[in-house]
């Protein structure tokens, strides 16, 4: 075996070793090569101008946001996980957290029946019959929950139903921080 025929294998071995080292650092080593923040976080909440659900009062507009921290929940009566997380929203509302709702692609009667059955935790509800607001807010699954601070900036976004654990580890601490 002449030496020059081994050179490619040796060069490759060194390269592979460096790659392995770097992969280890980036992977289990926890090295962060680039923090890519989510697009909506720390941005102003997208504009809202929603009428109330037919037969109810309220409605939700950009002017309603700001002033104090608020939870914005995107829900629909036809969405089973929304039903599942509803008790948690009720509990938050009882504790004095301001909760707003965006009711998406729902029939007014269905939405009202949903709230009559499970309770209404929302201080204001905007009806988004066409789902345009949901698109503007980048919603892709229901339910979805946003925390908007007193300067109308989105501080947290949760996709899917909130669980007890999300509430204790993320949402409550964040709301407490924002209230200060």
């Amino acid at each position: 075996m002449r030496l020059r025929y081994v050179v490619p294998a040796l060069v490759f071995a060194v390269l592979a070793a460096v790659f392995a080292l770097y992969l280890h650092q980036v992977g289990s080593g926890g090295k962060n090569i680039a923090e890519v923040p989510s697009v909506f976080i720390e941005r102003a909440a997208p504009p809202l101008a929603l009428p109330p659900i037919e037969g109810m009062t309220g409605g939700l507009a950009s002017a309603d946001l700001g002033g104090r921290a608020v939870l914005v929940n995107v829900f629909a009566s036809w969405c089973p996980p929304c039903r599942a997380e509803h008790p948690l929203l009720m509990r938050l509302a009882r504790e004095g957290v301001l909760v707003y709702g965006i009711n998406v692609k729902d029939k007014p009667a269905d939405a009202k029946a949903f709230l009559a059955e499970l309770g209404n935790p929302f201080a204001r509800i905007g009806a988004d019959r066409q789902g345009r607001a949901a698109i503007d807010w980048g919603v892709y699954g229901y339910p979805e929950t946003f925390v908007v601070d007193r300067d109308s900036r989105i501080r947290y976004r949760h996709v899917g139903a909130i669980t007890e654990r999300d509430l204790e580890t993320v949402i409550r601490p964040l709301l407490a921080r924002l209230a200060r």
Binding site: P8, A16, V18, Y22, G27, V39, W137, V139, G141, Y142
Partner: protein
């Protein structure tokens, strides 16, 4: 239920590749024809099952089946059908399925068209293809299942990165993969030859068509990617020396070298071990690109979702395939005996020079690409290596390369007559000198580099024209004789001339756009006019428009040349709410001699907008030239001698003087 069938099809394909990678090898070792024949059947079955899986995934995208996590994450009901389909490969998992589909298709061509390959070589090539397929199918099945379900089922998908919703990019990955994966054929032939312990001109003739096809596809793929970056990213540039761009450029450079060195093996039975090594390295660099893009070790606009676990798997594949191939090379290459000797000044000598220069260029690009990674791995901090480094290192290597292209193509085999060739090239040298002097005269000394670039472009195109004219006997024989000679000239000779001329066009485009780009960044109020090169551009204001899945601000700019209306440009700044992303859609008016390129920036107070305007001379030539290069490659590919179906007749044609000149 249907998506589960997709997983099942992939699993079956995986089992098939396991058979394909072992049984034919055993057959070849024992000389058992029946076992060797299993390779062809397995390759066909593999293609079939992967095609089924790919079709099922595509169907899930077309139907917007959001119960499949991959579809939910990358598609949206509002997305046009075309982009729902191209969304299949716009993400990591789906693109891997396309990857193995192309791999299987290439493998199948050996099974279907390679009936006159020596049975043992064919069996071993198919086995190596089977090993590659098995590794990547395992990668898909164990780390990147594209058919994974999601609970609860989202009512709407998360969409596709809006930057990717674009015709240029929709078809960029398939071409790129055709190129990357196509080089696996060269790799498989190289490994099979090492196992056989035999490399001969026939081997080179079988390797070349696949390498050429892969090279053409990669050329188009890179050009599409650069075109997309040019009009979509809105920076007015076409190449950024981004690590991922480099990752696609590296196999192209070494693949180009391979293409040329294989000619020497075919014609002169020399450079065998070198060509085998190049074949391994070319595919190795394709795999390296895959690793860099998908492992999350690099950050780039092009990177897929970061997941180091996948990186570990791909590194494992890299080590198995390349480590194995290099070890085999170390053990078996010394036994491959070189053939004919040749003088340094000869066609072979020129091709060796071509190889040295291209490989040096590739090494430089590789170092520039990996340096930040290596430095960071050893705690040296974060650096980025950008255009200044590459301009200083890569460009100087290209100058002698381009000079040599014309001369090398005119030298004869074994022993060339450099003085004679230079004597025939006086016209090209004169034209190049004239262009250089004219450029310097118009622009002064600071345009010395531009003068050099233009001179090289002219040297290439005129030099090739002179060579072609001499071969056709233009000016010495009658028109009818000329036409007869043109018809008799092998297509590979035409292909070479066209590809090299395309290179000249690319060089001219790069030179002009790099040196004479005019950039204006202005704050424009409606009605305001700005001068750009010889044009007057008037801003008419901006209005809001809505697209199927985005809303946008659309500016209106009217371009006039004196009193003549040249174009109305409508650049957009789009917002895709589902993805929460903003994109700029540059508006471009091309005259083929230059582009007027306008990007809408931010709205400022009082109805004013910041607008960036560019005048990019000759920039379309870059992509036209690249397409011409690929066409040249295809022309050469259509040469009868390269058809796998006709190797025996080709063997005779190879010894005829007229073909030998090609």
């Amino acid at each position: 239920m249907i998506p589960e069938l997709g997983v099942f099809a992939l699993a079956v394909a995986f089992v098939v590749t396991l058979v394909q990678s072992t049984v034919p090898l055993l057959g070849a070792a024992r000389g058992d024809a029946r076992l060797m024949a299993v390779g062809s059947a397995a390759a066909t079955a593999q293609l079939l099952f992967i095609a089924v899986a790919f079709a099922i995934l595509t169907l899930a995208y077309v139907r917007s089946d959001f119960s499949v996590a991959n579809v939910a994450e990358n598609s949206h009901t509002l997305k046009p059908l075309l982009y729902r389909i191209t969304g299949v490969w716009g993400n990591h998992e789906g693109s891997m399925v396309l990857w193995v589909l192309i791999l299987a298709a290439f493998g199948w061509t050996v099974a279907a068209l390679g009936h006159n390959l020596p049975p043992s070589l064919k069996a071993r090539v198919l086995a190596v293809q089977g090993i590659i397929g098995a590794l990547f199918l395992a990668f898909i099945l164990f780390t990147s299942n594209p058919f994974e379900r999601i609970v609860p089922v989202p009512v709407e998908g998360r969409g596709l990165n809006p930057l990717l919703q674009d015709p240029g990019l929709a078809f960029h990955p398939p071409f790129l993969y055709l190129g990357y994966v196509g080089f696996s054929m060269a790799f498989a032939f190289a490994v099979a030859a090492l196992i056989e312990g035999r490399v001969d001109p026939a081997w080179a003739r079988w390797v070349r068509p696949w390498t050429l096809a892969a090279w053409c596809a990669l050329t188009v793929g890179i050009a599409l990617g650069s075109w997309w970056a040019y009009y979509e990213l809105g920076w007015g540039g076409f190449w950024f020396w981004d690590p991922v761009e480099n990752a696609s450029f590296l196999p192209w450079l070494v693949g180009t070298a391979l293409l040329h060195s294989a000619i020497v093996v075919e014609k002169r039975d020399a450079l065998k071990t070198w060509t085998v090594l190049l074949a391994i390295i070319t595919f190795g660099l394709s795999l390296l690109g895959t690793f860099l893009v998908r492992s999350g070790v690099l950050t780039s606009v092009h990177s897929f979702a970061v997941d180091p676990a996948r990186g570990v798997f791909i590194l494992g594949i890299l080590i198995l395939l390349l480590g194995g191939a290099f070890a085999l090379y170390a053990a078996r290459a010394p036994a491959l005996k070189g053939g004919g000797l040749f003088a340094p000044v000869s066609r072979e000598g020129a091709l060796v020079l071509n190889n040295l220069l291209l490989c040096t260029a590739a090494a430089v690009v590789l170092v520039g690409t990996l340096y930040p990674l290596v430095l960071d791995a050893f705690g040296g901090g974060k650096v980025s290596v950008g255009p200044p480094f590459f301009n200083l290192t890569f460009v100087p290597i290209m100058v002698p390369t381009l000079l040599a292209v014309v001369v090398g193509a005119m030298l004869s085999w074994k022993r060339g007559d450099l003085a004679g060739v230079m004597g025939r090239l006086w016209l090209a040298a004169g034209a190049a000198g004239l262009v250089a002097v004219a450029t310097l005269g118009l622009g002064g000394l600071r345009h010395a580099l531009a003068a050099l670039g233009f001179a090289l472009a002219v040297w290439l195109v005129v030099g090739i024209a002179v060579d072609l004219a001499a071969r056709l006997g233009l000016g010495t024989v009658g028109a009818r004789d000329c036409l007869r000679r043109a018809a008799k000239l092998p297509r590979s000779a035409w292909g070479m001339a066209v590809a090299h001329a395309g290179l000249g066009v690319v060089v001219a485009g790069i030179t002009a756009s790099a040196h004479w780009q005019v950039e204006e960044l202005r704050l424009l109020r409606p009605g305001e006019t700005v001068a750009l090169a010889s044009y007057a551009v008037t801003f008419d204001g901006a209005r809001q428009v809505r697209g199927p899945n985005y809303s946008a601000w659309e500016g209106r700019l009217v371009v006039r040349d004196g009193d003549r209306l040249v174009a109305t440009l409508l650049p957009q700044k789009r917002f895709y709410p589902a993805e929460g992303q903003t994109t700029t859609e540059a508006a471009i008016h091309t005259t083929w001699l230059a582009d007027i390129y306008v990007v809408l920036g931010k709205a400022e107070e009082g109805g004013a907008w910041s607008v960036r305007l560019y005048h990019n001379p000759l920039v379309p030539w870059i992509w036209v030239g690249a397409v011409v290069m690929a066409l040249g490659g295809m022309l050469s590919l259509s040469d009868r001698r390269h058809r796998v179906g006709a190797p025996r007749r080709a063997a005779r044609a190879g010894s005829e003087p007229s073909a030998a000149k090609a």
